[in-house]
Subunit: 257 residues, 2 copies
């Protein structure tokens, strides 16, 4: 029973990649077989795991455009017990190339069907926009979307547009699309911003915010430069603790273990 969650929020820099990598790494530590899918042409998820986007032989571009099997494109990190379907610079052109293709919105969903039994969790990291790549991510989100929301004022502005887009995909492409939960990120207790954001998030997504809140913690920003998740880079940091709690909360809610 593979669960597929998509990390989505068109606001930039809110912690989509950081959440995909670090939530994924803790799920893997808890014995789950995990695949991270990097749907962002910037390839931040790939580089967070030490993958050089310019050196990969195959990438998600080949799965979406050339319909190559995903199993031939994934890389496995033995040490982290994590797999990644990497991105590459070619993906930047995919949105334009897909426009006139058949089944352009369901390419990722169909591609992942091939590997479904192989993983317990598939986490899809999206770019900060609501174009065809993100729509592919929404249609592939079999078990729902996870929405990282930065605890800052400007991050609130986009929530209305995001819920509208989710509703449009639900009506036109995937009726069962649901919100699995909202992750509050970069929470800073020294300012009132965080508390104001939490109130607003509870208004937009009542009862859907995960209890685990991720604080602002510099170790989370340092870890990608070593190609490691924070669980391996700074396991006793506040950032690591928060993602460990989030992984436990997700597993509990999914009825695993």
């Amino acid at each position: 029973m593979t669960r597929i969650y998509t990390l989505v929020n068109q606001k930039g820099g809110v912690g989509k990649t950081t959440t995909a990598i670090n939530l994924g790494a803790y799920l893997a530590r808890f014995g789950q077989r995990v695949l991270i899918v990097d749907l962002d042409p910037q390839a931040n998820a790939s580089s967070s795991l030490g993958v050089d986007k310019n050196a990969v032989e195959g990438s998600i571009y080949d799965a979406l455009i050339n319909e190559m099997p995903v199993s031939t494109l994934t890389l496995h990190n033995e040490r982290l017990n994590l797999s990644i379907l990497p991105s590459s610079p070619a993906l930047a052109g995919a949105e334009v190339e897909l426009v006139n293709e058949l089944a352009r919105e369901t390419r990722l969903k169909n591609a992942l069907d091939e590997v479904r039994g192989k993983y317990d969790y598939i986490l899809i990291d999206c770019p900060p926009s609501l174009g065809l790549l993100t729509v592919n991510g929404l249609v592939a989100a079999r078990d729902g979307v996870i929405i990282p929301v930065q605890c800052e004022y400007l991050a609130l502005e986009g929530l209305g547009q995001l819920t509208e887009t989710i509703e449009r995909v639900r009506v036109a492409l995937y009726p069962d699309l649901k919100v699995r939960g909202v992750v509050l990120t970069m929470f800073d207790s020294r300012t009132n911003l965080g508390n104001d954001v939490i109130k607003e998030v509870n208004r937009h997504f009542p009862k859907q915010a995960f209890h685990s809140i991720v604080p602002r913690n510099i170790r989370l920003a340092e870890a990608p430069s070593y190609g490691l998740p924070v669980a391996a880079y700074a396991p006793s940091s506040p950032g690591a603790y928060a993602y460990e709690m989030l992984a436990r909360e997700l597993l509990r809610g999914d009825g695993v273990k």
Copy 2:
């Protein structure tokens, strides 16, 4: 002699909006006539100046799609001595609507021709993507682009793609497109990340980084929730000082005063 600069970087959350607003506010304090153009469907620049994107009568959407004169759409803030061409939710559909339009890449440039003599500086804030809206921003950047780069590892990944896109626009649409400068943002002296990023930026954009570096400062994140630039919200904060220095540096380099 109106100078038009576009704030661009497809990496999300690096300080494009914060730089457009706060650089603009200090240029206005120094007596320049300033227009902020909000080219992001999230309308963060508009809300940072207290404009409600859902309540505006006309927006940049009308200038781009309905070819309404910009002068009929701008709002002027007397207290801040700043004008804004606001965004609206309708802009989210503009990228798709523009695809088959004539002169789709030069709509913004042509629209701004009407107000050129009215302002000394026009700063254009872009969304975190390299689609048609950002291309419009690049073509309209008469005097160059200003690239905010967050002093964190993941922000480095996208610099290569950005320079490629700038080069493609230069070849196909606007041969004089140049980089006016790179603004290093969210610099945190407690970690080596900042210094690593500075070295990389100097490699990608030799001698083009502004001397004024913007530190991470919570006041910059709080100011938008009051609809104020930091110059008005917390004028003696490190964030305010940095943007004041940046405005002075830009004016000096432009040979103004």
